[in-house]
């Protein structure tokens, strides 16, 4: 166990290092720099030189990189060149929003996909199954930026059940927080529902053909009992793998929903920082996102070892 954890930790460190270099290079090689953004039309050669010097951006690239990395080890991720927020603060306020979005949307996704798959996998290719399949593909074809305005038009402006935008931290007012987060979460959950449903359904269908299921049936166990106790657990592999990939993609992929619902999450902040060449913000968020991805995979793999003891931890 110890060796396993050590190996995963080293993996985390190495991946983080590589991502840090990649993010740094990518954003620095983009044409333009924060001085141009800040100076706007005052962007004379003279002013630019002064500002770049002030920001420490006239140093050679490798030096800027090492300065950044050493600062991280002192807990200093730097700050935005534009509004001077510290990157740490940006992460501290943005991460909870994204985490919450992901958690709520995934809970909804599992809560819808799992029962649906359990029901339809028993009778594949029957009407119920076809309706479900069609429905989920409908959801896949509607990306978040299409679903969100529809949801707002119907449920916010139309019925008045939810506010159109807004955010209250969970620690401040849980009820208001959830009230605000429902529509954004619904907007991103559709794709997840579709993916999870398809994966679980196909696994369930195959599991149900296995001998031990036939055995259970012959013992006279009820269908529901079989489904839940025997069939479900071994059928979750694809689902888990899919969850790993899907959630991984969501970690920095919520920017459209953040923009539309005026949520101050990391996705949109990251996108904006790229456009504004806010180097330290981009690097900091990219690094944290990558770390989150690695940790997520670690968790998924761990769940795998729990669900199926045959999987070795290596």
């Amino acid at each position: 166990m110890g060796k396993y954890l050590l190996r995963r930790f080293i993996q985390l460190v190495v991946v983080s290092f590589i991502i840090s270099v990649l993010a740094f290079l990518l954003i620095h090689l983009l044409p333009g720099d924060p001085a141009t953004i800040i100076l706007g039309p005052n962007d004379t050669a003279q002013n630019k030189a002064i500002l770049l010097h002030q920001l420490g951006l006239n140093k050679p690239l490798w030096q800027q990189y090492t300065t950044w990395i050493t600062a991280i080890f002192h807990g200093d991720l730097g700050q935005s060149y534009l509004n001077h927020q510290t990157v740490t603060h940006i992460l501290a306020t943005g991460a909870p929003i994204d985490i919450e979005l992901i958690i709520i949307s995934q809970i909804i996704a599992f809560a819808v996909a799992i029962p649906m798959a359990l029901i339809t996998s028993r009778r594949p290719n029957r009407p119920v199954d076809n309706v479900a399949t069609t429905g989920t593909f409908g959801m896949l074809a509607l990306p978040p930026f299409v679903i969100a305005p529809i949801l707002v038009a119907i449920f916010a402006v139309g019925l008045g059940w939810f506010p159109a935008t807004g955010y209250v931290p969970f620690t401040q007012d849980p009820v208001a927080n959830l009230h605000n987060m429902i529509l954004p979460s619904l907007a991103i959950t559709a794709g997840s529902i579709a993916v999870y449903y398809r994966l679980l359904r196909s696994d369930l269908i195959s599991t149900l053909q296995e001998d031990f299921i036939t055995m259970a049936r012959s013992k006279g166990l009820s269908s529901r009992f079989i489904m839940w106790r025997h069939a479900f657990r071994p059928s979750t592999f694809s689902l888990l793998a899919g969850a790993g990939v899907n959630i991984g993609a969501l970690i920095a992929g919520t920017f459209v929903v953040e923009y539309l619902f005026a949520l101050n999450g990391l996705g949109y902040t990251l996108v904006q920082a790229v456009y504004q060449r806010d180097y330290l913000v981009v690097q900091g968020i990219a690094l944290v996102v990558a770390i989150a991805y690695v940790v997520l995979q670690f968790i998924i793999d761990f769940i795998f070892t729990v669900v199926d003891p045959r999987v070795t931890r290596g």
Partner: protein, 561 residues
Amino acid sequence: MASGNEISRRSFLSRSAVAGGAVALGAGAPSLLAGCSSSSGSAGSPTTGSKAGVGTGTPKRGGSLTVGTLADIDGFYPPSNHWDTNGYNYANAIYDPLMAVATDGSIQPYLAKSMTSNSTFDTWTMTLRPGIKFHNGSDLTSAVVKANYDALKVSLLTGVALKQVASVTTPDDMTVVYTLTAPNPTFSSGLTTQVGYVVAEEMIQAVTAHPSTAPKPIGTGPFIYSQWQPNDHFTATRNPNYWRTGFPYLDQITFKPIPDTVQREASLRTGVVDMIQSTDPNTINRFSGSGGSNYQLVDTRTGVIGQPTVAFLMLNTAVTPTNDLRVRQALAKGLDVATIQRLFGGGFAKPINGVFLPDSPYYSNTGYPTFDPAGAKALVNEYKAQHGTPSLQLITITDPLLGKLIQIVQQMWNQVGFDISISQVQQANIITDFVAGNFQAATIYQFGAVNPDLNYVWWSTTTLSPVGQIGLNFPRNNDPQIEAAMLTGRHTTDTATRVTAYQAVNERLAQDLPYLWLDQYLFSEVAQNRVQNFNNPILPDGGAQYAYNEGIFVPTQIWLA
């Protein structure tokens, strides 16, 4: 408070106002506006009875107002930020400017008590009001004003706006004397802008001590800074010791940036915010008639002092093919502006033949080309015979509304024989392109100003530079007649001469055609009915203040019913 010299902020990917969107206020040499429109009124309001934005009944104390804005402010320290109209809305909550614009266009003292100049207009004396305190209890003295000036002067961003000031002295605690490098009868108008906002010395010292942090904002304004979560919200609470006794009525004001216009409007309708700002003409349409029956709508179709911001296409006179006058003429004649106004501008047709609109004293028949596709084709053919088909690229920022516009323009120009390609550019890059002259044709919004001299830097021959180098005269239009006329307009004290001068500028622009006028760039604000008196600010010494300055409102006199 004449800003409006800005490039569109309405961009998906630019929530922060500074992201290339705000062109710094170049000028400091505006001229006193002579007798302009005096209406401080609002556009036809959907609410029956009372006028939109003008409060009825007795003001009530208390309550909290939430405003949905287009973007966040980038920072509260004048020397290190670009404030566009959106930024000014934030600033007006916690700061006061030294001078302000009245509804007759005159510049009146606000934080200052008086402002006079000598007969040669190169020495200006300002006296301050006694007894004004900052939010931290410190007094407003001339030393503080000088400290502000010193910080602004050395700043890379604001220094250029104060270039005309040679020195500032403080003969006593309440007096500030500005000595200019050259006579300028309109100097005081610059103090209605970003460089006229006064912050406490404590804030300046905080910045000096920690240069790259955002200091806590300390001003003299009606509200006190409470909390700023960038890109989420900004909150300020009532200043109980505000020097304008009786104000403000509100207990608290909160600004929430909501970048998507449709979502911002939905936020108003679902009660998330009480009031919104918009630059999308469709907002006006959607809140007129039955759509606006529980709201008050104010917009800049009426009530503009000086020149409103206009949307136009900018042509680079220093690169092919737009360096050829025939090409520019053809491009002008090929534009069906009426249709563009209908499709893109919400349908509020207003003929535009120059930088001054019909209700301006500087308006004249400039001879600007009208829509004439046949004439355009002829010119194109003439050019084609010599140089081949003229092809050029039309650029704009990555904004859905502007994307629509350039597709319309592309078809119109292609139909008269051009070969037009279009491109949407990231906002940060487009500013660089403009400043360096790396473009052929582009969309832009600019030139809103209380008086025309504020636009000097964009038209002057002194801000010309070759393509590839920095120059504020973006289209590189080299017209000495415009330069002479602008200077005449600045220095003369005779109204008639000034009118003639600026009319000449407008007529030269119609000849040179660096700008192809499209439409007025409309600002609008919509508020729920309970938000009272948001469009009716009063100056400290009495008299009506310019209420809705190209998207800038004043929060001091607002109350909630």
